[in-house]
């Protein structure tokens, strides 16, 4: 029996991987864009549709970053609206565990789960910088080292809130005049170090019991949190060998928590470019990469590592000979990417550029590329199948480069081949995401 391939799609976001300059690039705000991609994914029997969260617009050298897509809607509002135009696909959204309070967060997830008939998922992220905190009541109140402690407590609280109503608590018996089975349905208390709340939760038990939990942390505490609590890991380890190592590491931690390897799905981010011939696909992929990394974008990336103004450098010329500024505060604010070892990264990038005689732009294209499948539909389907069967992962979260049609090719041309291989469903078997993922709670 072959392992099923889990598939998800990440709506193109505010990174440079989203190509907004192409003629067929549509609105990142229009509901029609979200609806198109979610329905296309549902047509392809994908497990879930994924949205990231923005809490502060990014800045670079003290000014708003303007080279990539800027601005997006509130994720959970869009996901809830998408429940109206889709039937079975999972709806996954990011909510930061530092800048949301657990009662409200648990309620948003439970509400989405009710309004979608059991299709909600939560991607738990933990950024806690003061830059983002400037938009919130408590500011940058949490020390970086404690972000996973807070995440653990918020997650623990959310689970307690979801469990505070039992399945049979809403009786709604008109004749007997009994709405609740017990007077204290929803009563809860959580007294932790970072979360201390009590009272009564106000959303009855949701169809999935607990919405599906996604985690993307890659550090040691991040992996441990995932092993302890997550249903899905959104991984950055997209290559075959790296994926196998990562999978083995994270799944190896599950035993400590009494969990089976099947209870956690590891899904790396990936891109796909298909064409009729291998050569055509490669050409197309490289032209997409050139669009993703314009000259100004290449300089911007370099400045994030070097942490100094490099605007005088020619993106088509060689790397700067000055060293990174490790003393100054970070030039880039509001990004997930952190460079703890600027000198080391610069040194590696110089070596790659020297060995392969790359310009700044060519280098950035090379070193910021993510794992991806490039080839004919047959080649891509075979590779995806191989990765999953060999435990390099359990499936993928695809990040198309175009809104809203970026997933169309994959669904039209690769999905049928995966179905023929017997590794992708041809129809949804269950109403809830948790069941479709093969997870039992």
């Amino acid at each position: 029996m072959k392992k099923p391939v889990v598939l998800a799609v990440h709506f193109p976001g505010v990174n440079n991987t989203t190509v907004w300059s192409a003629p067929d690039s549509g609105s990142q705000m229009a509901f029609a864009s979200f609806a198109h991609m979610a329905r296309k994914a549902e047509e392809g029997c994908f497990d879930f549709f994924f949205l990231a969260e923005g809490l502060r617009l990014r800045e670079h050298r003290g000014r708003l970053h303007d080279l990539d897509v800027v601005g997006r809607p509130d994720s959970f509002m869009v996901l809830t609206a998408l429940a109206a135009v889709t039937d079975r696909i999972g709806l996954a959204g990011t909510l930061n565990s530092t800048f949301h309070e657990p009662y409200e967060l648990a309620r948003q997830l439970a509400t989405l789960d009710h309004l979608s008939g059991g299709r909600a998922a939560w991607n738990v992220v933990t950024s806690c910088d003061a830059f983002t905190g400037a938009n919130f009541r408590r500011g940058g109140y949490l020390d970086h080292a404690r972000r996973y402690d807070r995440a653990r407590e918020v997650l623990g609280t959310a689970r307690r809130l979801w469990d505070s109503w039992r399945a049979g608590d809403v009786v709604a018996d008109k004749e007997r005049g009994r709405f609740l089975a017990r007077p204290d349905a929803g009563a809860f208390a959580y007294h932790g170090e970072l979360v201390d709340i009590a009272g009564r939760f106000n959303v009855p038990r949701c169809p999935q019991g607990h919405p599906v939990i996604i985690q993307a942390g890659d550090s040691d505490p991040g992996r441990e949190l995932a092993a302890a609590t997550a249903d899905v890991v959104f991984s950055q380890h997209s290559s075959y060998e790296d994926g196998r190592r990562f999978s083995a590491d994270v799944k190896g931690r599950l035993g400590r928590y009494g969990r089976s390897p099947q209870s956690l799905k590891i899904l790396p981010a990936a891109t796909v470019v298909v064409a009729d011939s291998d050569e055509e696909a490669r050409e197309r992929a490289s032209s997409i990469r050139r669009r993703q990394v314009s000259g100004p974008t290449a300089i911007n990336f370099l400045e994030q590592v070097w942490n100094r103004d490099l605007s005088a450098y020619d993106p088509d010329g060689p790397l700067p000979d000055v060293d990174p500024d490790v003393e100054a505060p970070a030039l880039a604010q509001g990004r997930a990417m952190r460079f703890d070892d600027r000198r080391g990264v610069a040194q590696r990038w110089r070596e790659v550029a020297a060995a392969r005689k790359l310009s700044i732009r060519e280098l950035v294209i090379e070193v910021t590329g993510r794992g991806g499948f490039v080839g004919t539909p047959q080649q891509v389907a075979a590779e995806i199948d191989r990765f999953v069967q060999d435990d390099a992962c359990d499936g993928f979260i695809f990040i198309p480069h175009l809104t809203p049609h970026g997933l169309d090719d994959f669904v039209d041309r690769v999905v049928p081949l995966l179905q023929e291989r017997g590794v992708l469903r041809t129809r949804y078997e269950h109403p809830t995401l948790r069941e479709n993922l093969g997870l039992v709670h």
């Binding site: 409200e104 309004l115 919130f136 609740l180 009564r200």
Partner: protein
């Protein structure tokens, strides 16, 4: 005056009456399903109501600031109102969607983003009903700022939350997205503005994550007869409405008080749209229905000074007919039993009001347009009055 008489409906669970869920038509087992809310919103949309409000609270009990109790014979639990509005936005075309949010314990930045997104999702049909909370139960659910010292403090904070939201909605100029391929710039960053709000309760840097919504600023409504009245500080609620809001729900006799508050606060914005709040039980058997529900619940509900009408639609039309002359711009009808009285509003009352020339044919456009309110200029745009 808006020029046209506005008819809205207030949605909350099975209806205003605590025993509404026991009515023959009620669907109490479906209160937490999409189908239930889609049916209600769809009916309001097809029927030509101008907008619906959707109540909310951070308690399992009613949204009246009275907290939870141990009763098992009343509806307990509620879904997030802003999300209910999002769920019905794609399946409605005309009706305005005005969800409530408790602003005392939530983040103004999140609320502003959600309401702005609702406006984007609905093509300019979003409004917002910020509520205060003085309930220790709600405070304990969040445990960040504690119970406000007074209604006055809570309303002052709510006014700050609205100010932050309006600034965030304006923080993107309408033409900020340029997608300039030649220079590689997606936005003109000179058209995005920090909001730099600092107040006693919170500070917010900005700009918004969400580009300026279709209405510029979604409609902001205040509720005098709801949480404000229950909190026992009508003056603070009036001050909040006059300084921070576009529309107010009031008792039918409150128009003079609203106008006085506007004058006292030297309101510069267009006058508040004033809607009378009335609970309705419609039909020939309405009085009997109400009496039966009262009996089921162990007595009439404690409604304070809420106006309640029980009788045939024509009788309600007689009452409403006099209101434009009394300075009211419209009415929000709170169905006593939503599964009986919302259909009666749509099928009986609205046709009767149209026949009498009080309301016009169902209209389209943004919610502001329907209420006769202009799209607000952007405070950060060049040439704007600062």
């Amino acid at each position: 005056m808006t020029g046209r008489f506005v008819v809205a409906a207030g949605l909350d669970g099975a209806g205003w009456h605590p025993a509404a869920w026991r009515a023959a038509s009620a669907r109490p087992a479906e209160l937490f399903t999409a189908r239930y809310w889609a049916d209600l919103a769809g009916l309001a949309d097809r029927g030509g109501l101008d907008f619906v409000t959707i109540d909310d609270a951070l308690t399992a009990g009613p949204a009246d600031g009275r907290g939870s109790d141990q009763r098992v014979d009343r509806v307990r639990g509620r879904l997030d109102a802003v999300q209910i509005a999002a769920r019905v936005a794609p399946i409605t075309t005309r009706v305005g969607l005005v969800p409530a949010t408790v602003v005392t314990h939530t983040e103004p930045f999140h609320a502003a983003s959600a309401v702005s997104t609702l406006d984007h999702l609905s093509g300019g049909r979003a409004g917002w009903l910020p509520r205060i909370s003085l309930d220790p139960t709600e405070a304990g659910h969040v445990n960040v700022r504690g119970v406000p010292a007074s209604a006055g403090e809570a309303y002052a904070e709510a006014a700050d939350a609205v100010e932050v939201a309006r600034r965030l909605w304006d923080s993107w100029e309408d033409d900020a997205v340029i997608r300039d391929v030649a220079t590689g710039r997606f936005v003109d960053r000179d058209k995005l503005h920090p909001v730099d709000f600092e107040g006693p309760f919170f500070s917010v840097k900005g700009p918004s994550i969400v580009p300026r919504p279709p209405q510029g600023q979604p409609l902001v409504a205040a509720d005098l007869a709801g949480a404000g009245a229950a909190a026992g500080d009508g003056a603070a609620a009036l001050r909040f409405a006059a300084t921070a809001c576009d529309l107010v729900f009031a008792a039918p006799g409150d128009v003079a008080a609203v106008r006085a508050a506007e004058a006292q606060q030297r309101r510069a914005a267009p006058p508040l749209v004033v809607l009378a709040d009335v609970v309705v039980f419609l039909g020939t058997g309405a009085a009997a229905t109400r009496a039966r529900l009262d009996e089921l619940d162990g007595g009439p509900p404690a409604g304070g000074d809420t106006a309640v009408f029980a009788g045939p639609a024509a009788g309600l039309a007689d009452l409403v007919e006099a209101w434009p002359r009394a300075g009211l711009d419209g009415v929000r009808l709170y169905p006593g039993v939503v599964t009986d009285d919302l259909p009666a509003i749509v099928d009986d009352l609205l046709p009767e009001l149209r026949r009498r020339g009080i309301v016009g044919a169902p209209a389209g456009g943004t919610l502001r347009e329907r209420l006769g309110l202009a799209r607000p200029p952007n405070r950060y745009a060049p040439g704007a009055r600062r």
